[in-house]
Structure formats: structure tokens, C-alpha cells
């Protein structure tokens, strides 16, 4: 990268700095990082905007002088806490990159079991394996400056956010739900097709990615502002979906962890 400094970019005639960015992953599928290389049409333009100092999945060179750190994945083992703290100490801006980093993601599904020892035994038998009892989001351990939601993250949204960081613009995550984007896309409502959907309570910004494919929303981006989860339960019930179906979606990615825990307790109490 260093050998080939691209041309200085300008915005409205003013030189735009190329921030030094680095990518890291904790416990994850590394899919969010892959999403970055997955949009081939804009990749090269995007790369000219930033100076990548570390990206293990793609490059061997590694420098510790980054200002923006993108961290994918959730924290599931103690050595990851140390790595995360080091990253935090170096980076001026730490970005929780994707739903695992923001909420724990699918990894936090293991947290629902009463007995963490059972979880280990179910997979590894008597073989000793080091892991924390719960999978946790980054902000449980360090200060997070910015969250990029989604499982996976949406490349277009990431590019927009990074461009805004570079240009020093304010970044605002959508407050409205997926449902609004779905309506704007003129999709047939999933409930009318007999499918459950968390679109009415889930934070938008994905352009109703799943409902566009007639696949109901699973809430991967967490709750929209003022999400009415109780009313959502009523809607699900009215359309004949069980509490279990609602709970499966609510607890899948960790964004609704509080609501899910409450619902799980209520179901158990019955």
C-alpha cells in the first residue's frame, strides 16, 4: 500500500485526508469484513479513500498507527478482552462492526442456557476448552464510538458511513423501522403472505434487505427508536404465530436481548 500513494482526493476543492484504518476480528464468521471486498464495483474507489494499515484477512503487512479501528465479532474468550483493550488504546475512533460486535450476534445464543458447563460439554465432551461463559458485545469492555449494525453489514451503508467519517460529517443511524423501508419498496407485507416479521420494530438502514426477498425480518439490527415490542407481540399473535416463533427472532442476534430474556421468563412462568 505504502509504495503506491494514490492521488490526493479533494472534496469541494479541499484536500481530503486519507485516514489510517485497521480491521480486526474477534469471535465471528469474518463475513462483515468480507462484505467490504464483496462489492467489486465500488471497492477500488473505496480503497482510495482510506489508508489500510492492518487487514489480516487480506494482507500480510501490518502497522500499528491507525486512527480508525473496525472491530468485527463478539468477545468470547479472555485473550480477546486484552486484544480489544490494546486496539482501543491505539485507535482514536473504535467502530463496532456488525451485529456480533454491537450486540453479541448469533454467538450470544449460547448465553440463554442456565449451565455454561453444559454448553462446553455438548460440543467438546470432556476435552478442556477455554471460553467465557457468555458472548458479549464490545461495549461491555471498552468505549465504542460508532456502531454499524447488521448481520451482515450492508456494504453501501458502510461506505456511506466511512465517507462521512472521512469528510467529518455527522453520522446518524436511522431511527425508523425496517417496515418503513419495506413499504417504500412496495413489497407485499410478509404477514399477508403468512410469514412472521420483526420489520415493524427493527431499526432500518438495510433497505428492508430480507423482506425484499419475501423473507421476514429477524431483527439483526436491533430495535428501532421507540420500538413497541408489546404491540409487535399482539400482531404476531393475531396472525397466528406462537410466542416461540417471536422469541426465536427476538433473541437471534442479541439486539433485543432484554426483551427476549423477559419473554423467555414469561413463557417459562406459564
Amino acid at each position: 500500500m505504502n509504495k503506491h500513494e494514490p492521488t490526493q482526493r479533494t472534496y469541494l476543492g479541499i484536500p481530503v485526508p486519507r485516514p489510517k484504518v485497521a480491521f480486526f476480528e474477534l469471535s465471528s464468521c469474518e463475513g462483515c469484513q468480507l462484505q467490504l471486498v464483496n462489492n467489486e464495483t465500488t471497492l477500488l474507489n473505496f480503497l482510495s479513500l482510506v489508508d489500510i494499515r492492518a487487514f489480516r484477512e487480506a494482507m500480510t503487512e501490518k502497522y500499528d498507527d491507525y486512527t480508525i479501528a473496525f472491530v468485527e465479532g463478539s468477545v468470547t474468550r479472555s485473550d480477546e478482552i486484552e486484544r480489544l483493550k490494546k486496539i482501543r488504546a491505539t485507535a482514536a475512533v473504535l467502530v463496532a462492526f456488525g451485529s456480533c460486535a454491537c450486540f453479541g450476534g448469533v454467538n450470544q445464543l449460547k448465553n440463554r442456557f442456565q449451565d455454561p458447563a453444559w454448553v462446553k460439554k455438548e460440543v467438546y465432551g470432556s476435552h478442556p476448552i477455554e471460553t467465557n461463559d457468555t458472548a458479549r458485545p464490545l461495549e461491555d469492555f471498552v468505549k465504542v464510538d460508532l456502531k454499524i449494525f447488521g448481520c451482515p453489514v450492508k456494504k453501501e451503508e458502510v461506505e456511506k458511513i466511512v465517507t462521512n467519517v472521512v469528510l467529518g460529517k455527522t453520522i446518524v443511524a436511522p431511527k425508523y423501522p425496517v417496515c418503513m423501508e419495506c413499504k417504500a419498496n412496495e413489497n407485499t407485507c410478509l404477514f399477508d403472505l403468512g410469514e412472521p416479521c420483526l420489520g415493524p420494530i427493527t431499526r432500518g438502514g438495510c433497505d428492508s434487505w430480507c423482506p425484499n426477498s419475501r423473507f421476514g425480518c429477524w431483527g439483526c439490527r436491533g430495535p428501532a427508536v421507540d420500538a413497541n415490542v408489546e404491540q409487535m407481540q399482539e400482531v404476531m399473535k393475531k396472525h397466528g404465530f406462537s410466542e416461540e416463533t417471536m422469541l426465536d427472532r427476538l433473541e437471534c442476534f442479541g439486539g433485543f436481548a432484554g426483551h427476549a430474556a423477559e419473554m423467555r421468563n414469561n413463557i417459562k412462568a406459564k
Binding site: G125, I129, T131, S213, R214, F215
Partner: protein, 424 residues
């Protein structure tokens, strides 16, 4: 001069996930050569317990960002096999097309972005963007086509949205498929150029006799379901997969290891090709032979070439698949699912080798137990034994430190390991 050196690579780069290489040679004698996997476990098999069947493909796709489509399809197949659902011909063909495009994007990603830099002494693909723009644009073009077609059929290139137990939530528009047919025809030439590029690279001269495991083709090069086979002559049914994988734990790895007839075996493009060479498309077969690649080839570095050969096969077969779809009327995209008690196994050839998902359901369709055996976890033991043999060979030959270090990393990369997937 006798070689004395220590190689300690923590978190090898340009692979998916976290693994370390340690080699210690003193006076030409290898004291240690270790392939360590330090990835954190995520416990997918435990997560699924108690969940209804419809959760399985959606959650299990998240085992891997690169081969999420393959995991989703293996998971769906396991559920369908447990419930006795036989996919329609239409669904089978669409799934195969989707699977092919995932394999194409993954192979191209590996060949150009992860493996190629080693052959031209670069640390990453990024400097090549400026030094070899045409090459990178070509790679991006093929990858884009594959990913776009994944979007078209599966709804999304990663963690697909249209693939469900019973079929698809939506079907692609035929006009779109027609355009993709032209784009596929157009990349045939790009693959020829890719072959020209790889012909300039010298494949390291290293061989170690290995057992290769894959699906067993019957009439065609296999990707989804069927019998299991090894080059040592073992043949098993899909539901007997545990007899092929024999997983066990070792201290140096958070991933399980596997073995069959020998101390280790290999899966992946080279294994598929070694077992099913006769079913390759003629153009792919010709390309393979032009690289001197024919069964049974025991050079692990040739997995790169096997991936290239598969790219050609996949593009040719995808054109045929689309032609078949364009000739017929679409039928119902989704079958009704009635859960039942039982066990189901799904074996699918994903880019890095054969993948198995197995679920046991109660009568309401809740998961009682689950098991996922990942291609890279089946390869770890073989990587270890290759690494030992490689270090011994090069220490004997008196190779320079840097050469051994590079060749060891190239060896691991040639398996295109998906380490976080292997631990899951």
C-alpha cells in the same frame, strides 16, 4: 551448510480465521513443525439445541462468512432428509446454480486475492491494484458476476435470504437469468486468461501420499448429496458420515481433527478432482491436463490449480443450468414442510471441501442434538502432517530461512483454510 532456524508466525495472514505456524530446525534436523489453531469456539451445535427446525439454516449459515450459502444448503438438506422432503427438480437446479456461484466467487477470491500475492512476492493484493490493474479488474469482474448471480438466486450473496427448507421464497426473473447467461459466457475468456496467469507461477515441488475424501459422483461432478468416497477405496452412504470423519480432539487446536484410513486425509477441490475427474466438463478436463493435473495428484499446492479447473467446470455447467431453466415454465417454488421425529444428514461440497450437517429432531421439529463437520477441520491434521514433511524436506535440501517460511505459509494457504468455520 546445515539449516538452523526458528519460524514463529502468529495469526497467519490472508486466510480466514486464526492459526499459527511454528517451525524449529537445528543443524538440518526438524525439532518442531506445528500447525496451531487458536480460534475461539462459538458453540453452534449447542446454540441450536431446543430451537425449532426453521432456525437451523438461518443460524448455521452464520458459521461462515465465505461459504454461508454452502452451510445454509447443507443445513436445509439435513432438515429435509430428516423430514423426508425430496426437493423438486427445479429447486435442486436452482440450489446447484447458487452453490456454483458461491464456489466461483470463493475460488476467485482465493486464487487472486489470497494465493496469487505469494507467487509475485507481494504482501497483499493491494499493491497489485496499481501494478497489475488489468489482472485485478478481471478478478473483480468474475467475482462480481458470481456474487450478483448469488443475489439473483439466493436473495443475498452472504447469509442468503430466499433459501428455505422446502425450496425458495422467491424465484429469479427469467430476463435476469438470460443476462447472467451472457455474462457467464463472457467470463469463459477471463478464465482462460486466469489460467495463463497461473501458468507463469511455479508450483512448489512437494508431494506427500494422501487419502482424499469427497462426495462420489454418479454421472456428474458431485456438489449436493450422494455417496461419500475416499481415494483409498472407502465408500459410505451420506448418513454414515461419522464413519468418514471420526472426529477427535488434540491439544494444539481448538478445532476437532479427523482421520479415516490413515493418520489424516484431505478434502477440497483437489480431493473432488482426484475422486471425480472423469465427470469434469471437457473444457475443465482439458485445462487440468494442460497443467499436468490428473488423478491421483498428491501435491497440496495443486489445490490452487484444482480450484481453477473447477471454476471452468462451474461456469460451463451454470450456462447449461440456465439454458434448462429458460426452456421451462417455473413451477411452485416452495413445498409445505411437515416436521417429524428423526435424524437427518446433509452433505454438500463447499469451496473448501465436503461439509456435513446433522440434526436430530423431536416430534415437534425441535432440535435435540446437532453436529456440523467442517471441511477445514477435516484438513487440519493433513496440514500438520504436510507441514512436518515439508520442513523435513526443505531442511534436508538446505533451503534458506525465508524460503521455508514462505513455502510453509503458502502450504497452509493452498488449503484455503476457513479456520473460524472449522472451530465454529
Amino acid at each position: 551448510m546445515k539449516v538452523t532456524q526458528t519460524i514463529d508466525i502468529k495469526h497467519i495472514t490472508r486466510v480466514e480465521g486464526h492459526g499459527n505456524i511454528k517451525i524449529s530446525i537445528r543443524d538440518g534436523k526438524v525439532e518442531e513443525a506445528t500447525w496451531e489453531v487458536v480460534e475461539t469456539p462459538r458453540f453452534f451445535e449447542a446454540m441450536l439445541v431446543g430451537k425449532k427446525w426453521e432456525n437451523a439454516p438461518w443460524i448455521c449459515g452464520r458459521i461462515c462468512g465465505i461459504c454461508s450459502i454452502g452451510h445454509t444448503l447443507a443445513s436445509i438438506r439435513a432438515v429435509e432428509n430428516a423430514f423426508g422432503i425430496v426437493p423438486t427438480g427445479q429447486t435442486g437446479k436452482l440450489r446447484l446454480l447458487l452453490k456454483h456461484m458461491e464456489t466461483l466467487q470463493s475460488h476467485v477470491l482465493h486464487l487472486y486475492f489470497l494465493a496469487a500475492p505469494d507467487f509475485v512476492n507481494a504482501g497483499s493484493v493491494f499493491p497489485l491494484i496499481e501494478s497489475h490493474p488489468d489482472v485485478i479488474k478481471r478478478a473483480a469482474k468474475i467475482k462480481l458476476l458470481a456474487n450478483d448471480l448469488c443475489d439473483c438466486v439466493g436473495g443475498r450473496r452472504m447469509h442468503p435470504t430466499r433459501t428455505v427448507v422446502g425450496g425458495f421464497t422467491m424465484l429469479p426473473a427469467k430476463g435476469e437469468l438470460l443476462k447472467f447467461k451472457y455474462r457467464l459466457q463472457d467470463v469463459v475468456d477471463d478464465l482462460t486468461r486466469t489460467a495463463e496467469l497461473f501458468r507463469q507461477f511455479s508450483v512448489p515441488d512437494f508431494s506427500r501420499e494422501t487419502e482424499f475424501v469427497s462426495l462420489k459422483g454418479s454421472g456428474e461432478y458431485p456438489f449436493i448429496g450422494g455417496e461419500l468416497v475416499s481415494t483409498d477405496g472407502v465408500v459410505r452412504r451420506e448418513h454414515e458420515y461419522r464413519l468418514m470423519t471420526n472426529e477427535y480432539m488434540v491439544g494444539q487446536s481448538t478445532s476437532k481433527w479427523s482421520k479415516l484410513s490413515r493418520q489424516s486425509f484431505a478434502v477440497g477441490a483437489l480431493a473432488r478432482l482426484n475422486n471425480n475427474f472423469s465427470f469434469l466438463h471437457p473444457a475443465a478436463k482439458e485445462l487440468s491436463l494442460s497443467f499436468g493435473l490428473k488423478p491421483v495428484n498428491h501435491n497440496p499446492y495443486m489445490n490452487n490449480i484444482a480450484q481453477l479447473v473447477e471454476c471452468v467446470h462451474i461456469v460451463m455447467e451454470s450456462i447449461d443450468l440456465i439454458n434448462g431453466m429458460l426452456d421451462r415454465e417455473w413451477q411452485e417454488s416452495r413445498q409445505r414442510v411437515v416436521p417429524k421425529e428423526g435424524i437427518g444428514v446433509g452433505a454438500v461440497e463447499v469451496p473448501r471441501g465436503i461439509l456435513y450437517h446433522c440434526y436430530e429432531f423431536d416430534k415437534e421439529g425441535r432440535i435435540v442434538r446437532s453436529d456440523c463437520v467442517i471441511p477445514t477441520s477435516q484438513n487440519h491434521a493433513n496440514i500438520q502432517h504436510d507441514l512436518t514433511a515439508l520442513a523435513e524436506q526443505y531442511a534436508r535440501e538446505g533451503k534458506k530461512d525465508r524460503d521455508i517460511e514462505l513455502l510453509a505459509q503458502m502450504l497452509v494457504r493452498s488449503y484455503d483454510p476457513c479456520i473460524s468455520c472449522s472451530v465454529h
